[in-house]
Amino acid sequence: MLTGSVIIFYLLAALTLACGLLSVTTRHIFRAAIYLLFSLIGIAGIYFWLQYEFIAAVQIVVYAGGIAVLIIFSIFLTQQAGDKLAAQTNQRKIFALLAVFCGFALTMLQVYQHEFYLSAFPTGSVSIHAIGEQMLNVDQSGYALPFEVISMLLLAAMIGCIVIALRIKNQTEENPPAIGNSES
């Protein structure tokens, strides 16, 4: 049965995997960032295909819109245009490939041998209302505490970024700012 939905799924999967593979193998760092962006968009497409629209929207906003742009900006700040990354030694590539293939084979073997108890009725999309209700619920099934903890973490990360990026005055090149002090 080759319906439209199936074709779209395979196209999204191919986009995600091909762009991910190109992203870790290309020697142009800027192209690597762009391939990563398309891989993230492919994953967002898979979320749409699974009818988790909320997660797909979060994925596009945070990953494709936030992290990818952050990475591209940091490439602009740290690389000379047109520079290629140094080529890796063949020995390192071979050992990495070996480890990755063994790990992948083992994982897939485990996955295909395991009998999953699939639910009889995979439901459609989850409503935003239900998500918000459970996220801010304080009873047994609610996620209010992790929500608050994440908000504290984001605040700490923001302050940490500011402290790390702060340029301390009358500081010499031999004495770079202490990075480890920003966590407290």
């Binding site: 193998t25 979060v58 936030g66 990475i71 890796q88 480890a99």
Partner: protein
């Protein structure tokens, strides 16, 4: 063939090991960060697939994914601040050159 749980687990495992390969072979801090993002995304995909196909009446996988995305955003921001600071003081973001933490 109708795509199901196993197809998505295959994609997520492949994406995870692509990220691991990038992490092993790359020596530039930004590209290593990009590999970590791929790994985190494969984990998210796993959570969503299990939530969809095994426990569709619950939403726990969805919340784990949301929290992982939030933590990944914070992690990327802090990592890039550190990378830019490292570039300022060493004029390189190659991990082979950044060996001062060893001492």
């Amino acid at each position: 063939m109708q795509p199901g749980l196993y197809h998505i687990l295959f994609i997520s495992a492949a994406l995870f090991f692509i990220g691991v390969y990038g992490f092993f072979t790359r020596r530039n801090l930004i590209t290593m960060l990009m590999s970590i993002e791929l790994i985190l995304n494969s984990v998210n995909l796993n959570f969503i697939a299990f939530n969809k196909y095994l426990w569709p009446e619950k939403m726990d996988g969805l919340f784990f994914t949301v929290f992982i995305i939030a933590i990944a955003a914070a992690e990327a921001a802090v990592a890039i601040a550190i990378i830019i600071n490292l570039y300022r003081s060493h004029h390189s973001i190659d991990v082979e050159q950044a060996e001062e933490l060893k001492n």
